[in-house]
Symmetry: C2
Subunit: 249 residues, 2 copies
């Protein structure tokens, strides 16, 4: 039995599952008003993209998986919408690449932090970072700068799905290698990323985990070559072209 | 003093005013969860359109104003987002063309109906229809079919901004002349409209009122010729082209 009462091959399955999870996120205090508006923006871009993973986004997911496997200390940053939409998939990706999971909210409140941590644990996360908040990202105002010193604070590679532009730029300025998942190829987040994945997180996160599991037997040289052959600007351009030229239905 | 603490010529004024009004709508019980997601979808399309009224949308607004002035019984349909975003502008447009205002909700609850009616009255609406609900639109399920018999039920021209596709199609099937405001040029609502306005309602509604006031002295022949020269398919195509080719920023 699936999470919603529809077979997985139903043409609207993915979009109805997304809607179901976002609404459940509101009930649980995970998704904010801003999160609902952001979800709508994502829906529109995904509609224009044809609700599919374009080849350049699949290559980006492959490079991201390799980058995470190469990392000394990879961290996956999770906000309200990420937790609501892909909690089990994030836990699975963290497991596949050996990454920590850290909660980071644009609108940080103790209640939302606790609700999101509980939701991630329900979906199998052992350790959830972000609650200590003893580190700071330089150049951001107090609440938005908070990170765990032994999490994002000292990470070399961070996955920031659905991150706001200011934070994405500030993390890049700290020298972190950023993997961004964003449906808007010209957002500041996508532009500050070493690896921008222009795709819906519902598709991108499990796709990264699948690639990572295939790459687990590869040596560093092979992984390096996957990362080196990835071209961020070309991936953003391909995303923009797909949005411009996609079939509206 | 403006409604938000920013001068009207600030580059982000319109977008911040929109955000402010939508959030106030949530506080007042006017805007639903679905409404917030829909707002986000609109934001993305408007971003791709360049957050401006394109020439074909201005022509559509002009044709819509003329069509309303020619109507025997024009009605403007208002849902939660319309009330939250453009209540004073809807009241002004209704005044300029002599139209009734009727509340019609996709998710109809007595509380939301009452909150929206109160909000419209606060912004100067004398009479608000939609609460009697003694008429039905054929082909829709019970709650979504409800209209006032002496409102949308007997209207010849209806303005349905931000309408869902099923209702827009059912109203067109009843023989109503529909004016739709929708940022997605290929939505079923835009496709079922006699006059689709591919624009943000924040800009389109006051623009229609401005055109109507300029047209008030025209005779029926002049108004007819404005309506007749409007080409709905060309307007939808122009909207799609603008979204495809607009400058992303």
């Amino acid at each position: 039995m699936s999470e919603i009462d529809l077979p997985e091959d139903h043409p609207r399955y993915q979009s109805l599952l997304t809607r179901h999870r976002i609404e459940a996120g509101v009930e649980k205090g995970i998704t904010s008003k801003q999160g609902l508006i952001a979800e709508g923006r994502g829906e529109a871009f995904d509609y224009l993209l044809g609700e599919r993973t374009i080849p350049s986004a699949d290559q980006a997911a492959q490079a991201a998986a390799a980058q995470l496997l190469l990392a000394d200390q990879p961290v996956i940053s999770v906000n309200g919408n990420v937790a609501a939409l892909v909690a089990p998939e994030i836990v699975d990706l963290a497991d596949a690449v050996g990454a920590d999971i850290e909660i980071n909210l644009f609108n940080r409140t103790p209640d939302r932090m606790a609700a999101i941590a509980a939701h991630l644990r329900e979906h199998g996360a052992d350790e959830v970072k972000g609650l200590t908040a003893d580190g700071r990202i330089p150049g951001l105002s107090h609440e938005r700068a908070k990170v765990d010193a032994d999490g994002i604070g000292s990470a070399d590679v961070v996955v920031v799905p659905l991150e706001d532009g200011d934070r994405a730029e500030a993390l890049a300025a700290m020298g972190k290698t950023e993997i961004v998942i964003d449906l808007n190829p010209l957002s500041r987040s996508a532009e500050s990323a070493a690896i921008p994945i222009i795709d819906n997180i519902i598709r991108a996160v499990p796709n990264m985990a699948t690639h990572a599991r295939k790459q687990q037997e590869m040596d560093r040289e092979a992984l390096d070559s996957i990362v080196d052959s990835f071209d961020a600007a070309a991936a953003r351009n391909a995303g923009e072209t797909a949005i411009r030229n996609g079939e509206l239905s």
